[in-house]
């Protein structure tokens, strides 16, 4: 739709016409703000816990477990130096053998959701799929935070 609009504007005499091909999807997936009637409705990105513990692939699982639980968490997200998500450690994985590397224990490539998804949609998904928490990332895979069921229910 936008390519046609851009070409049409040019044919109407507009000299400098640009097209943002990524569109609203790209904008919202990056967690950028929008305006409109939906703008005030809670979304996954705003509710996700940005303070979720993170760790690297080559860390010792026991160290990550201790760090996470000291912070009151039963989960940690495995990321790289660019904050791109590689895996998730839930309570089940955190309780595995302490001396192994995170890369061996983690749940690799967890499903991720974009920040713009409305909280009520996330609540329905998590309820229907019995998910306690889900990872929220931008469209380029960078961690926004961990959304827990209690963050979107009620």
């Amino acid at each position: 739709m936008s390519p046609r609009a851009a070409w049409r504007l040019e044919s109407l005499g507009f000299g400098e016409v640009y097209e943002y091909r990524g569109g609203k999807l790209d904008w919202m997936a990056a967690g950028l703000p929008t305006e409109g009637t939906n703008a005030k409705r809670p979304r996954a990105g705003g509710l996700a816990r940005a303070d979720v513990p993170t760790c690297r692939l080559d860390e010792r699982l026991g160290d990550v477990r201790n760090r996470a639980r000291e912070q009151g968490w039963d989960a940690a997200v495995v990321i790289n130096s660019e904050r791109v998500v590689f895996g998730l450690l839930r309570a089940k994985e955190l309780d595995l053998e302490a001396d192994q590397q995170v890369s061996q224990a983690m749940r690799p490539a967890p499903s991720t959701f974009r920040p713009y998804v409305l909280a009520e949609e996330m609540a329905a998904y998590m309820r229907d799929h019995e998910r306690v928490s889900v990872v929220i990332t931008t469209s380029d895979g960078r961690l926004v935070g961990l959304l827990r069921q209690e963050d979107v229910s009620g």
Partner: protein, 67 residues
């Protein structure tokens, strides 16, 4: 020939005075639109663009995604 911009270029250009136009149906614009965007649905572009937009300033159009 229209040129493509990414979201970073878009932000810079809008700050510098470019006009931003969402060409989706009005209802979709009402729900969510980019800051500073105006709504001119594709079907109304011929009628509205000549009066609503300034030909002497850059115009950036967008929809939901590439489709």
């Amino acid at each position: 020939m229209p040129r493509e911009v990414d979201r970073n270029e878009l932000r810079r250009m809008v700050e510098a005075g470019a006009q931003l136009v969402e060409v989706l149906p009005e209802e979709e614009y009402a729900e969510d639109h980019l800051p500073k965007a105006v709504s001119i649905p594709l079907g109304r572009l011929d009628d509205e663009a000549p009066t609503a937009l300034d030909r002497n300033r850059p115009v950036i159009v967008y929809c939901w995604d590439i489709a």
